[in-house]
């Protein structure tokens, strides 16, 4: 789960990490008022969307009067921002953060992530702040410093001093150590997966400030992070994906024409690959999970069919913990209750497969049955392509 920058900064402040003074607003009038209240000569308006790459896309602008700030906010609010990370459709801006501009002496990069290779939390830091860290990693690997945290003892002072020295903050080790240990505590307490401050800055007054902040949290730990769950913004997520989650389904929209309903994340990916192998393109990833009831299957059909690009649906079930007869009942129910005007290809295997096939056979419905994965993928791609050629 991701949150907005202004929310991340609020959490940082709770852990006594300094951020610029500012406030989130939903109207241009409020933007101007906030600038006035904050005082100073220059302010920054930052579009609050989850995707990165806002700066280059015009989502971060500076103004030097409250009137100008209101003007900028007016342009941003309600507009659609297309960044390198939003995809071509972009993301609508419904709130902006207005902050007092900082006087920057130096910029740095600092993040904490759960690193899957070392299976530890790792601190990543660089003196090259404010730029894309992936680019730094490619062009100048030596500019990136990492420190692995032993969960038995936590982040240690000497490690913080090492990082400080490595990125040229050797003269400010005490305040840097304080900053990074507070960030580590937040990361651990709130079950973060990633906490990135890019850039964090040293101001002309020698203060260390988190100028930007990005956080993502472990979905598996949300059950014990009630306060974090409150920060979720459904407008930033695909409505089909939100609905799917509500039904216990794992759905991700893609841009092809073969709708997929599969059990198990691995097989769901494998099914997409088999479709691609036969020259087709999957319209989605969908894992119905274990213990899929007929209702769950019916919901899966409903969600997949909301995508207007779907030209055929492939149901691929290898039942272990699942039961083919329940799946088949769900397929039959969905095909009867919903207006499905695309061909449905069904491949069943595993627990209770004979019973499942019998239910499909006896339904009298025009379902295309497939013998195995290869057959299913081939038939689904063929059906989708045949529909594609029919003029609307």
């Amino acid at each position: 789960m991701n949150i907005h920058e202004y929310q991340a900064k609020s959490l940082l402040r709770q852990y006594r990490v300094t951020t610029p003074r500012g406030e989130v607003v939903y109207t241009s009038r409020a933007a101007g008022r906030v600038a006035e209240e904050l005082g100073g000569q220059r302010w920054v308006v930052k579009a609050q969307i989850h995707a990165g790459g806002r700066g280059k896309a015009g989502g971060v602008k500076i103004g030097n009067s409250p009137a100008r700030i209101a003007e900028i906010a007016d342009q941003m609010l309600g507009s659609t921002l297309v960044t390198a990370q939003t995809g071509p459709a972009g993301q609508r801006v419904s709130r902006v953060l207005v902050e007092r501009a900082s006087r920057i002496e130096r910029e740095f990069y600092l993040s904490l992530v759960v690193d899957r290779e070392s299976q530890r939390i790792v601190v990543v830091a660089s003196a090259e702040g404010g730029v894309d860290i992936e680019e730094v990693a490619e062009s100048n690997r030596d500019a990136i410093h990492t420190e692995y945290v032993d969960p038995g003892v936590g982040l240690l002072d000497f490690q913080c001093r090492k990082v400080a020295t490595a990125i040229g903050l050797g003269n400010r080790t005490t305040s840097f150590t304080r900053l990074i240990k507070r960030m580590y505590r937040l990361f651990r307490d709130l079950d973060c997966l990633m906490l990135e401050v890019n850039p964090f800055i040293e101001t002309e007054d020698g203060e260390l400030v988190a100028l930007d902040a990005k956080m993502s949290f472990d979905d598996n730990a949300l059950f014990r992070q009630g306060d974090v769950v409150e920060l979720r913004d459904f407008d930033e997520e695909d409505p089909k994906e939100v609905e799917a989650t509500g039904h216990g389904l794992n759905y991700i929209a893609l841009d092809g024409s073969v709708g997929c309903i599969v059990n198990g994340a691995g097989l769901a990916m494998g099914t997409m690959d088999a479709i691609a192998h036969h020259g087709g393109r999957p319209a989605n990833f969908l894992d119905v999970g274990g213990g899929a009831s007929p209702e769950k299957i019916a919901n899966a059909f409903r969600i997949v069919l909301k995508d207007p690009n779907v030209r055929a649906i492939l149901v691929n079930i290898f039942a272990g913990i699942n039961r083919c007869d329940w799946i088949a009942t769900g397929v039959v129910q969905a095909t009867r209750d919903q207006e499905i005007d695309v061909p449905v290809i069904v491949r069943l295997a595993g627990t209770n497969v004979d019973e499942g096939r019998r239910i499909l056979d006896e339904s009298g419905l025009e379902l295309i049955q497939a013998a195995d994965l290869d057959d299913a993928a081939a038939k689904a791609v063929e059906a989708a392509q045949a529909r594609q050629e029919v003029p609307a």
């Binding site: 990370q85 472990d218 014990r224 994340a265 097989l267 997409m272 690959d273 088999a274 272990g320």
Partner: protein
């Protein structure tokens, strides 16, 4: 021999009296697994499926001599049960739950340092040595005894691959589901090492997916030290970047994390790769035949 579990394994089930645990324990017993008891705190002293229930793993191990534990508890409490099993000294602990917080596993791995328990999972279908021992949720009837070792992250892809093999008459020595989480108990390389040392395994199939470099590291180890042929499939060639594909660990972070990059890297290391998941069985069959010809022994 097989790896990690066999007919001599004495298995206990944690969360024994739960619905899923009951169903799968019964199925495992029907296919030859030696289940000797279970643990459900508060229900110690009762019996379930005709077997003793204990309040703690330590007690269960003490009384039954169990050396393997199958952990069937919800993800929120899974690492606690896991550490209890480790503390009680079981040799292998299999953790099925999907949804374990990743920082719980980071701490768990630290606790494991210097201890010898082999952790399989979490987010795993389990482990099966066909006809001898099953600790997990896989449908036993698709597995058959043989000489191909299978290791996968995903459960359903494991079933898919195994059913293709079984249909072609290729049985399995042991099938290990290491689980789909980013921080897991046993990595691919550890399982390959076990298969390399197992005299009942001739060919090894590794089924990975997008995210991380575990598969490539394992393949790299294999090309240096393994004498047995390795066949690899990586799921997610068609997966988009930056999106988590169901499994917590399945997200493409950088170029080297993509399925294609991993398949290319593994192929460059001299191993056979499968690019269409429907071709896993055929590819293994070809590999088994070649290995048989080369060694002059033939695969059983």
């Amino acid at each position: 021999m097989s790896v990690f579990v066999d007919r001599d394994s004495k298995v206990i089930i944690q969360g024994f009296t739960g619905q899923h645990a009951t169903f799968h324990a019964e199925e495992a017993m029907n296919t030859g697994t030696q289940i000797v008891g279970g643990v459900t705190p508060g229900k110690g002293g009762t019996t379930h499926l005709g077997l003793p229930v204990f309040n703690s793993v330590a007690e269960a191990v003490e009384e039954t001599g169990a050396d393997v534990s199958g952990i069937f508890v919800p993800p929120q409490v899974a690492t606690d049960s896991l550490l209890e099993a480790v503390d009680a000294g079981v040799g292998v602990a299999v953790i099925i739950a999907d949804g374990v917080p990743v920082q719980d596993m980071v701490r768990t791995k630290r606790y494991l340092a210097g201890r010898s328990t082999q952790i399989i999972g979490p987010n795993s279908p389990g482990i099966i040595t066909p006809g001898e021992c099953k600790v997990g949720i896989m449908p036993s009837h698709i597995y058959s005894k043989g000489r191909v070792g299978v290791v996968s992250r995903s459960g359903t892809l494991n079933y898919e691959a195994v059913s293709q093999m079984t249909a072609l008459g290729l049985g399995q020595s042991t099938c290990v589901g290491i689980g789909g989480d980013p921080v897991n108990g046993t990595d691919f390389k550890t399982v390959l090492q076990a298969f390399e040392g197992d005299d009942e395994t001739d060919v090894i199939v590794m089924i990975g997916e997008i995210g991380g470099q575990q598969e490539v590291e394992a393949a790299s180890w294999a090309s240096q030290y393994m004498t047995k042929p390795l066949v690899a499939f990586i799921a997610g060639v068609s997966a988009p970047r930056g999106r988590r594909m169901g499994h917590a660990g399945a997200v493409i972070a950088g170029e080297s994390d993509t399925a294609t990059a991993k398949l290319d890297a593994i192929e460059a290391l001299g191993h056979r790769v499968v690019r269409n998941p429907a071709d896993i069985g055929d590819t293994v069959l070809r590999t088994v035949k070649e290995a048989g010809d080369g060694a002059g022994t033939g695969a059983s």
